[in-house]
Amino acid sequence: MTTTTTLDQQTVPIADWRDLLALTKPRVMTLVVFTGLCGLLVAPGGLPLALAFTAILCIALGAGAAAALNMWYEADLDALMKRTAGRPLPAGRMDRQTALHFGVGLSFFSVILMGVATNWFAAAILAVSILFYVLVYTVWLKRRTPQNIVIGGAAGAFPPLIGWAAVTGDVAALPLILFALIFLWTPPHFWALSLFVRSDYAAAGVPMLPVVAGARATRVQILLYTLPMATAAVAPWPLGLAGPLYGLAASALSLVFLLLALRVLANRAAEPAGMKPEKQLFAFSILYLFAIFGALVLDHLL
């Protein structure tokens, strides 16, 4: 006896390509691609255009793969939060298996292509960054500890290292400082956001710092992380790894970041409506990272 399946019986929605693209979190990818590109541009030596393009493409695809696997694992959590309920999986526009296959396939593709086009050291760092984001941050830390984004922030700090390694085949002091800068930047950036979307995280049971320790402790922590972050940002200048153009830009930008963090510390508002300083810090933090890395490349080129 044979069975036939008609299209009408198909209950699992076929994912539209736009939903597959949405799985890769394209907006987050822009910062990843930019910092990776900067790491590649400031590395000594150089790569032929086709190989440099491939290296950046692999960093983007790796980040997209990690994001897709994150959404695959967190579909239940995303459904509980206003900010994420419209994503393809919680909105029911795609089945979970498609997201899993897409994420795993893209991970292997990006790592192998990176290894073939540049070198296997860069490919190994790319693989570690994907595994770190998916296994350490998403699976292990996110639902268990308010330190989730402190350690998980390392995942987003890898791109300058990968960009540098794609050119040189190793790592050096400058890319390690850039890694530290993004690593230390992540907590103030995310905690500023989590202060004014706190109810969302609380509803989903994610132990973000404002949910667990309260707004006051979070505001103190934001300032405490801003200080070493600013130090890491300025450090390449006195260490002779960057020139005065970068040093002055990093100092000015870090000063603004610090002032905004102080305004956040002074704020007593408990409701999102009164959290203008937090919203300003969050918005500025994105500009800050773009500007710092942009200044580093300019300084290197001039």
Binding site: L7, D8, Q10, P13, I14, A15, D16, W17, P48, L49, A50, L51, F53, T54, L57, V116, A117
Partner: protein
């Protein structure tokens, strides 16, 4: 989801996949030429 909508999505994904495969072939060609340049210099 209607049969028409399923067919439309399958078609758009197939077209996109064909474009991506074409671009991948071009990329592999460019990588090969660049690597040959690296090793011959």
């Amino acid at each position: 989801m209607s049969e028409e909508e399923i067919r439309r999505r399958q078609r758009s994904r197939a077209i996109l996949m064909a474009i991506l495969l074409g671009l991948f072939v071009v990329l592999v060609y460019a990588i090969t030429i660049a690597k040959m340049g690296l090793y011959s210099s």
